[in-house]
């Protein structure tokens, strides 16, 4: 059970990394919040001060929870844990590199 939970956790981390990166880069519709007017909109892009962070986080959390549930339901995989961990962390590293590139581009 422990290893199965770990594998489901790794699957969820990988799904979170993908689900967090894709909506922003592909301008997928997510929930936007306007902090002054206090209204919510479901759209792909909106000018400042509309905030998409809540929407991106919500989207990624839903994808991760879904992936976790699916991984627990599926029969156990034979993929070595080292490969599963490396894949999940590589996807996380991809996110970090993308956001780091945006940070460095602003210098």
């Amino acid at each position: 059970m422990s290893e199965r939970l770990l594998r489901a956790g790794l699957f969820a981390v990988a799904a979170f990394a993908i689900g967090y990166l894709l909506p922003g880069t592909q301008q997928l519709p997510v929930f936007f919040y306007h902090p002054v007017r206090r209204v919510i909109a479901f759209t792909g892009a909106a000018p400042s001060p509309w905030m998409r962070y809540y929407g991106d986080l919500f989207y990624a959390a839903c994808v991760a929870l879904l992936a976790f549930g699916i991984a627990l339901k599926l029969p156990p995989r034979k993929t070595p844990l080292a490969i599963a961990t490396g894949t999940a962390l590589s996807l996380v590293a991809l996110d970090v590199l993308f956001y780091l590139s945006r940070l460095l581009a602003s210098v």
Binding site: M1, S2, E3, L5, L6, G9, L10, A12, V13, F16, A17, Y20, Y33, P35, V36, R38, S48, P49, M51, Y53, Y54, D56, L57, A60, A64, P80, L81, A82, A84, T85, A88, L89, V92, D95, V96, Y99, L100, R102, L103, A105, S106, V107
Partner: protein
Amino acid sequence: MIFESIARPMLVLHAIVGFTAVFSTTHHAAYSLLSALGRQNQRALRRFGWIAPSALIVQVLLGLALYPTYRVRVRAADFEHNAPFFTQLFDFKEHLAALSLALVIAAALAARIKELPSKEARWSIAALSCTGALFVWTAAVLGLCVTAKHPV
């Protein structure tokens, strides 16, 4: 704006809980690494297996509550005109915080199981936990830099 009137005390609380999150995730990472190296301490690992994600979840919720005030009073009013680098720096911090949340929760959940996991599983938990702790540390330092430049 929501929570604007209590933004300053919330920022102080955000910093205090931030220290708790940094040190609890560091402890979890250290114990999971020791476990992977063969020095078992399942009790401590289980204890920090609920403290670290709890502190991090509270920290992220406080950050989310402060975000609208930051967005209007700091980012739109100052950073977007005078310091665009700090806009990107803050965004990078937010992304690291989000990713660390997934990593720490996954590591803590897997490490809380009472049965002794295999050596491969222990290394996997350590990798998740150490990466999560590294992200939390980086997010905390970047958060302090942004706050030093312009607090809410």
